[in-house]
């Protein structure tokens, strides 16, 4: 990180890094108002502790500091809610803050009035108790109703995000697992059923040699071998449809080069890749290229055909182009199928094909699999 890049970060720091002191100093960059307010909170706290200490040292008994606490707490509530209302834009939160500020103000007035009646008229019972309780209840009820929606919406949003995260995660897992599974099936077909059938034809071949003097038996064996060969071929085609063996064994670039050679379009392949790709990405990229080349061969009548595969940090980009007829229909069954396949990997597919000016297909496949 260079010097200039670090600067704004440091400027942003003092908020959290401001030294915590018992008494704030003006030098800390506070305005007079902020200074007074933070002083007030600290003084209220100090007074509350001091009174409790005096009560504790003065023989305890009736806990009179509670009354002082009530008054001080009320002041702090007023201060907090007013500040709160000031900072928030018009809306539910500001309304709730205002209500609590009113509750606080009413409580201050009630307590002071009671103080006066106590000092002047000697009224001993704390008559505002019910009024205070009523105010608190009213304030709470109002807050509950006013913030209800907000809380629900926030909760709903959180739940939705969690669900999206989970679905994204499980879909990735499913797609990756499917790709790995397909590779396994391809290998199993070759090394399992197909290999057994090969061993069978071998045994039949050996048997055939031993009955060279019995034409009937030889013919039966030949027929059996023919069946076995047929089965082997079907299995091979099946396996190739699942994953082309060259793709499974040598990776995308080798498979694509072979594909290009097979179409005989003189396709140039330009690939920059730095690491092995996840099977899901490799399969999708391969099928995009295979379909695009098929289209070029079938529809384009192109003189030039090219493939560019490039890998950035987070995505594989596959471009397949030709200089043929153009006018490809992105809604065609082949291209629509490709789009679905690419989008299942959170990728995107662009088809540029102005009539008469060639076709360029660009697929972007995220690599974080």
């Amino acid at each position: 990180m260079d010097h200039r890049a670090r600067l704004p970060l440091e400027l942003g720091l003092p908020r959290g890094a401001r030294p915590r002191r018992w008494m704030p100093t003006l030098a800390a960059g506070l305005s007079i108002g902020e200074y007074a307010r933070s002083l007030e909170r600290r003084l209220a706290f100090l007074t509350a502790v001091l009174l409790a200490a005096i009560w504790a040292l003065g023989g305890q008994g009736y806990f009179w500091p509670a009354w002082a606490w009530l008054g001080l707490g009320d002041l702090v509530l007023l201060d907090f809610t007013a500040g709160w209302a000031w900072r928030h834009p018009p809306g539910a939160i500001r309304r709730v803050a205002c209500v609590w500020a009113l509750v606080g103000a009413a409580a201050v007035i009630l307590v002071f009035t009671w103080l006066l009646t106590w000092l002047l008229a000697g009224v001993h019972s704390f008559w505002p108790a019910w009024a205070l309780l009523g105010l608190a209840t009213a304030g709470s009820s109002y807050s509950l109703v006013a913030l209800h929606d907000r809380v629900l919406v926030a909760h709903g949003r959180r739940a939705l995000r969690a669900r999206i995260d989970m679905l994204t995660h499980t879909r990735r897992q499913a797609v990756a697992a499917q790709a790995a599974e397909l590779r396994r099936i391809e290998r199993d077909l070759h090394d399992g059923a197909q290999a057994r059938l090969v061993a069978l034809t071998l045994q039949l071949g050996r048997a055939e040699l031993r009955v060279s003097d019995q034409p009937e038996v030889r013919r039966l064996i030949k027929d059996a071998q023919h069946e076995a060969r047929q089965a082997i071929e079907e299995l091979r085609d099946l396996a190739r449809g699942i994953v082309p063996p060259l793709l499974a064994d040598r990776g995308l670039v080798a498979a694509v080069e072979s594909l290009g050679a097979r179409y005989g379009l003189g396709t140039s392949v330009d690939a920059t890749m730095h690491r092995a790709l996840a099977p899901a990405v490799e399969n999708a990229a391969y099928f995009v290229i295979a379909e695009a080349l098929t289209n070029t061969a079938k529809h384009a009548a192109a003189a030039r055909s090219w493939i560019v595969i490039s890998e950035e940090r987070r995505a594989l980009t596959v471009v397949v182009g030709d200089d043929g007829a153009g006018g490809a229909d992105p809604a065609g069954s082949g291209l629509a199928g490709l789009r679905a396949r690419v989008e299942a990997l959170d990728g995107s597919l662009k088809v540029e094909s102005p009539a008469g000016a060639g076709t360029v297909l660009e697929a972007r496949l995220p690599c974080g699999w």
């Binding site: 071949g205 091979r236 060259l246 050679a261």
Partner: protein, 217 residues
Amino acid sequence: MRVVIAEDLALLREGLVALLRENDIEVVAQVEDGPGLLRAIAGHEPDLAIVDVRLPPTFKDEGLIAAIEARRRQPALGVLVLSQYVETAYASELVGEHTAGIGYLLKERVGDVRAFLDALRSVAAGGTVLDRQVVAELLAPREGADQTLPGLTAREREVLALMAEGRSNTAIAESLVVTPGAVEKHITSIFAKLDLGACDEDHRRVLAVLAYLRVAR
């Protein structure tokens, strides 16, 4: 003939060993992976190695890599590569610069025992044998293709394909139901069209096969 077999599936390996022994071919070693193959050819100096493409540990193309390396170390060694599938790219790599003593066949060709044994002997004797599927793919007319073999007739293509499989003129004649004389005429015509000058017959056959591979590259 002394043979080394590199195949990881016991069922197939044992079947192959039995088949070869029944036909008086000596199997001097059986191995299951690439390094095993290289050790075996160093120790036994066989005439021929039969190698599966997919071998442990990764079951990708280590058999092919090992076969190419084995030939680099012992250029006189015949190498017959067997696989569940054929890729023209693999055929090109296998043939490389040295065309003699190379075979590349689908595994199921072992079922036709006589043809398989012919292929074995041909490769051990320095011939070139390519599976008809590789040949077919190399010969397939391509959509929009501008590069095929120059001016061969359909019949000549068939003959060339059979030559690439390592068949003798007699076998080709039988297979196409024509006279050996007709086959010879086709072959002479192919050699002329592929511009393969006067040199010995076997070598020209190999060159004809290579003409395919050059088209594939």
